[in-house]
Symmetry: C2
Subunit: 118 residues, 2 copies
């Protein structure tokens, strides 16, 4: 039985629940960036972005390393593995659902080919 750190998981999912923060993570997947660089695509003040970074950092998804007067932000995907592991438990359920959809479509298809309609 895999054991999950509830608080960590809660913070991770919370961090992922905002489109701005997901975009920031996507940007960091392309490489480290400064706070100003991260903020530039958004129509939002710097303090707002700084808060988002704080939430990402609380979840352990990024690290901010001070380098002189700038702060280099770096992705840390480790908490995403925990999140993925948690979700993977439910894989059988969405697959079962897709299977039955496929089955349904298959049945319809069969019917179309045997009931004389054209």
């Amino acid at each position: 039985m895999v054991k999950y750190n509830d608080t960590r998981l809660s913070h991770t999912f919370m961090a992922l629940s905002d489109a701005t923060r997901r975009a920031i993570l996507a940007r960091l997947a392309d490489g480290d960036a400064l706070v100003t660089e991260l903020a530039s695509p958004f129509d939002m003040s710097l303090p707002a972005v700084s808060k988002h970074l704080g939430i990402l950092e609380r979840a352990g998804l990024i690290q901010r390393k001070k380098d002189g007067r700038i702060r280099r932000c770096q992705l840390d995907a480790a908490p995403l593995k925990e999140a993925a592991d948690w979700i993977s438990y439910y894989k059988e359920f969405w697959e079962a659902r897709l299977d039955s959809l496929a089955q349904y479509l298959d049945d319809i298809n069969k019917k179309e080919n045997t009931d004389g309609t054209r």
Copy 2:
């Protein structure tokens, strides 16, 4: 390029960001349940649970089907697939990280076996 529905994804991650709601999903993975049954393990009022169910329902993670005076709750894992797909983009990053950890441990191990220490 996979396209994600931002709002749906936000609602899904938001729904997963609370331990009570994750526990409710886990319970529903064992089969449908009534609201009262879902509430019983928690030290929390029924209206509180009802709100959690509302948040899960907004994310599309559960459905509440009215059946007489009771309401049968059912898991729908489909949004979890979207969430899993979104997260999977970052898999290479946590794997790279684990690889370099393994590499590091490997290096240490080699050193221990060749530097004369015992």
